[in-house]
């Protein structure tokens, strides 16, 4: 049985018809009871289970997923990984994610295709330049790699960017994070699932939470179509489904669920070598390893769980994109989709105990959850193992909305909300 992945294994199996590859993850019979139960089989949930086993030696763990694993936002995002955030608390959080991604393929023995070709945030006005300087300096002080690029440097890095005199948004420069990356999103879920499964974690697909089991005011497990499953501690990493689960558990969260759209063009030979964000145009764009131009757009602030794109946002995003990249007028749209993102008032995640004792939260990542999967997993695992915060997660506790100690990354961009 070929369990370990390597070029050698590939050659060996290639010569014998690939009959010997082991299942990527097992499909075990559920136990009645686990030490820890993780609700949500996306990147965050699977990473949590993996780190529980690896960092804390807790292997009597189950991940329950109502659909097929990785089928939520992990399978729908535009794969950008970066840590160019303003506040030191955010810098610590997102850079933990980025650092873990850097070594993750080898650690999981699964090629996640983490490709560090940099992340560039464009400045389109003098005001953007000032705000960009504010961010670059903050990052440098927080110890994160950041450089300011002048307009010529930006155009050298991205030759197809519009520099014509009639361009609506001239490039005044950009904030460049060289370590910014993309990765193969499905592979992140599969890599964590396989590694966790190999360490003994149970992954139960097609298993939705029907009810929380609450005894003595404490969460002691869940009821599912596969029966009751009890655990000492329960963690929740379900992104857009968080409000629904919270309602089941008897509390409300400061979360609105919106549809975030994305689309891809038909694949073309390489033409864009970095990930680009243009805040005024509300667009971000990169080119996948398959050649597709991957396009993400502004959030449509209408509550929705429909997970599908609509025409007005698509038209708006694409008109901005074609303004930035006139050459993309040669391309066609191949596929359009959406995911349900859980947005908090300060655009920062929620990590920590929920109002229901025994139930712990990892949610509110909004449009930025993919980049933080290793961090979210590490920190939720810590919470579930110890019952208390890791120093990096403490500032993101739910209580910040009561104390008013928000970590408002949107605010740092000047937006009052």
């Amino acid at each position: 049985m070929a369990r370990h992945y390597s070029a050698l294994a590939l050659v060996r199996e290639g010569l014998t018809g690939h009959k010997g590859w082991a299942r990527a993850w097992e499909a075990p019979e559920p136990r009645r009871r686990y030490d820890v139960l993780v609700i949500g089989g996306g990147g965050h949930g699977l990473a949590t289970a993996y780190y529980l086993a690896r960092n804390h030696g807790i292997t009597n763990v189950a991940v329950i997923e109502r659909g097929w694993l990785g089928g939520g936002n992990t399978g729908r995002n535009t794969t950008a990984i970066r840590s160019n955030y303003f506040y030191p608390e955010s810098a610590a959080l997102y850079d933990l994610g980025l650092r873990l991604y850097e070594g993750l393929s080898r650690e999981l023995n699964y090629n996640l295709m983490v490709s560090q070709r940099g992340n560039l945030q464009l400045a389109h006005s003098l005001h953007d330049v000032d705000m960009g300087a504010r961010l670059v300096n903050a990052m440098q002080i927080n110890g994160i790699d950041a450089r300011w690029l002048g307009p010529d440097e930006v155009h050298t890095l991205v030759p197809i960017l519009n520099r014509g005199p009639a361009a609506r948004y001239r490039v005044h420069g950009g904030i460049f994070q060289p370590r910014g990356a993309t990765a193969r999103h499905d592979a992140v879920a599969w890599g964590y699932a396989r590694a966790a499964s190999r360490l003994g974690v149970h992954i139960l697909q097609g298993c939705a939470v029907q009810e929380f089991l609450i005894e003595g005011g404490r969460c002691v497990g869940v009821r599912t179509p596969l029966g009751e499953i009890r655990a000492d501690r329960v963690g929740m990493a379900v992104a857009g489904a968080s409000p629904a689960l919270a309602a089941m558990a008897g509390f409300r969260l400061p979360i609105s669920s919106y549809t975030l759209q994305a689309c891809v063009s038909e694949p073309v030979k390489p033409v864009l070598n970095t990930t680009l964000i243009s805040p005024p145009l509300g667009t971000y764009v990169s080119q996948s390893g398959k050649g597709e131009i991957v396009i993400g757009g502004a959030l449509d602030r209408v509550p929705s769980y429909a997970q599908r794109g609509n025409l007005p946002v698509l038209s708006q995003v694409l008109s901005g994109l074609l303004e930035m990249f006139p050459d993309f007028r040669q391309l066609r749209l191949m596929r359009q989709w959406g995911g349900t993102v859980d947005v908090t008032p300060d655009s920062s995640p929620i990590l920590g105990p929920s109002p229901l004792p025994g139930l712990f939260l990892n949610c509110g990542w909004g449009t930025g959850g993919f980049k933080a999967i290793p961090a979210g997993g590490t920190l939720l695992a810590h919470l579930l193992a110890h019952g208390s915060h890791h120093p990096i997660s403490r500032p993101f506790d739910l209580d910040r909305f009561t104390t008013g100690r928000l970590i408002d990354e949107g605010a740092a961009a000047g937006i009052a909300h």
Partner: protein, 80 residues
């Protein structure tokens, strides 16, 4: 592209509207606790399915309550 019913103007495309939050939130008095204030300000039901929402039709500025399904996008009753 969705079509929403402005009580004043009739059915109009969604691009003419702005979502203004969940209906039914009562603003507490100044004497409320920090926790109560936080719940008013921040907590959301974020219903998956039928929900009651406040919407404004921007061309006429009419604000109204709309019943809507956040999963199917079906539009229900309107209360001006």
């Amino acid at each position: 592209m969705q079509s929403f019913p402005c009580p004043f103007c009739g059915p109009r495309p969604e691009t003419e509207f702005r979502h203004d939050g969940e209906a039914g939130k009562l603003r507490p008095a100044l004497s409320c606790t920090d926790s109560e204030w936080s719940l008013y300000l921040r907590a959301r039901t974020a219903a998956r399915g039928p929900s009651r929402e406040i919407w404004t039709h921007l061309p006429c500025m009419e604000t109204f309550v709309l019943q809507r399904d956040t999963l199917s996008h079906r539009v229900g009753e309107v209360a001006p």
